[in-house]
Amino acid sequence: MNSWLGPQEWQAVALSLKVAFWATCAALPPGIFMAHVLARWQFPGKQLLNGLVHLPLILPPVVTGYLLLMTFGTKGPLGAVLQQMGIVVAFRWSGAALAAGIMAFPLLVRAIRLSIEAVDPKLEQAAATLGASRLWVFATVTLPLILPGILAGAVVSFAKAMGEFGATITFVSNIPGQTQTLPLAVYAFLQVPGGEAAALRLVLISVAVAMGALVLSEVLARRIARKVAGA
């Protein structure tokens, strides 16, 4: 494996997988919560919240990256607090995961929200009349029924996180071994003479990972959908 991929390429692939994995994992709990809020709760300012969640999707990624830098940089309001606690995300892999997670968040929320809206609220009412509190209704009825949607959302998020470029390079720069994810490495190889071969290898890996994830999610989603539909 290492003979086919150079150390820098290998590093970029491993880092990308790590960043995308943690970005997706960290985005899931707030993503599920936000999807539930947007799908089922009624409150003033819901449209504003909806817009805010979708902001990373419509803003230029560079702008999102810059906003992250202003907020989480060592001089930024949140970054300063985190630094006091000994946590630095700017120019670290964790920062790349944060950027990727924020960019993937709208896609995740959207997929899960759609699947929550597809759950018949009458089933949730039935569970409530049988004694289940809101939390238990969610855990025992809604959550199992939306598993296919969560899975689909997670795969899309993972793919988005793997491919994130603009916000990442703006927020955490392009440091090999630290923040140089796969797309950033492709970009770096294309900037130097003779880097095309390495870039092509990384492109092939990206395609393979994306396709693999897609197939896996289809298979799992179908299996879970069969199970929850009870057929």
Binding site: A128, T129, L130, G131
Partner: protein, 360 residues
């Protein structure tokens, strides 16, 4: 324990303003669609917050708007049976049945799952998922699920309305058993006079958001001024006991001393049952008729004649078997000079009593 309901709520088109008590047994909340009965049951279940109201089950206060108390559905100790069974598709029948039990307080009086499964005849379904059940089977599981939640109160919202006639006939006996076995009040919403006649211990009739009649099934359905749905639904309920089953397919009943012959009923001799006699199947004669095919001829006295808006009239007859309602034309009523106090005979065609109108 009994359920006490008082509600006021503004609905589009009319104001709901009802107040009634549901004693132990089965109380049918009866009315046409749009009469407000679903709003009542949703308010009792806690799925809707009424403008004003107070709902208590025994001394458990579920709702008291004057004191700002509004318990969420999960704190009301309910067992709900809906029109569509609403079984959880991702759980097996067994898991569905035990769902509510898991949330019930440990101190609650619990039904034995084995007994409930046996009563509903769903033992062979326990490992299946709801998608593989027929409509009738789903509704039986839903009844079991409600019962096993150890509820203080059972609510049923038109549980038979989505089923075809054959499935209705299949499920009705289970509600009769539920009514006779359940220690807690059952509030049952329906627009079917058949279900009222078969199931009701108490009837609360709603019209445009107001309670228009309240009483036992015999009282309410025996009221000649009461039109369940339409005048075609008029029919009094008689209580009777099976005397014998005859070889020619008939059953002989004793209704308060009067003999009635009916097509074979499922109950065993000695068992009690209620029979709904449809108003359009009762004929009135002034002299005892002879040489006719109808087998049931009861001496009667006219109590009341209520002319309808069309060509017909409803006549209330007092017989030994109980009150019987007859639908006749106004022309016949005039020709026979039907008036309160007149002695006559009520003729009931035996084959006219349909099986769905006979219940335990």
């Amino acid at each position: 324990m009994s359920l006490s309901v008082a509600l006021r709520h503004r609905l589009p088109g009319f104001d709901l303003d009802v107040s009634f008590d549901a004693p132990p047994g089965l109380t049918v909340l009866f009315g046409a669609s749009g009469s407000g009965k679903t709003t009542v049951i949703e308010a009792v279940a806690g799925l809707l917050r009424p403008d004003e109201g107070r709902v208590t089950a025994g001394d458990h206060v579920l709702l008291d708007t004057a004191k700002g108390r509004h318990l969420p559905p999960n704190k009301r100790r309910l067992g709900c049976i809906f029109q569509e069974a609403r079984l959880f598709p991702h759980l097996t029948v067994r898991q569905n049945l035990l769902y509510g039990r898991w949330f019930a307080p440990k101190s609650a009086a619990r039904e034995d799952p084995g007994r409930v499964v046996e009563m509903l005849g769903i033992g062979h379904l326990l490992n299946r998922r709801p998608a593989r059940l027929s409509g009738g089977e789903k509704q039986r599981v839903a009844i079991g699920r409600a019962l096993l939640a150890a509820p203080d109160l059972i609510l049923a919202d038109e549980p038979l309305a989505a089923l075809d006639e054959a499935r209705k006939a299949e499920i009705l006996p289970y509600f009769e058993r539920l009514r006779d076995a359940s220690p807690v009040p059952i509030l049952y919403v329906s627009h079917s006079a058949t279900e009222v006649a078969r199931l009701a211990t108490t009837v609360v009739a709603l019209e445009a958001g107001k309670v228009v009649r309240q009483g036992t099934a015999a009282e309410v359905l025996g009221d000649p001024a009461f039109r369940p749905g339409s005048v075609r639904g008029v029919g009094a309920v008689l209580a009777a006991k099976v005397l014998a089953h005859h070889d020619d397919g008939l059953s002989e009943l004793d209704a308060n001393g009067a003999r009635l012959l009916l097509p074979r009923v499922p109950q065993a001799p000695g068992q009690g049952l209620r029979v709904r006699i449809m108003g359009q199947e009762v004929t009135i004669a002034l002299t005892r008729p002879e040489n006719i095919s109808a087998l049931n001829v009861l001496p009667a006295t006219v109590e009341e004649v209520i002319p309808g808006t069309g060509p017909g009239a409803v006549v209330a007859l007092s017989t030994q078997a109980g009150r019987v309602l007859a639908r006749v034309t106004k022309r016949s009523a005039a020709a026979l000079k039907l008036a309160p106090g007149l002695s006559c005979y009520a003729i009931i065609k035996t084959v006219a009593v349909a099986p769905q109108d006979v219940g335990s």
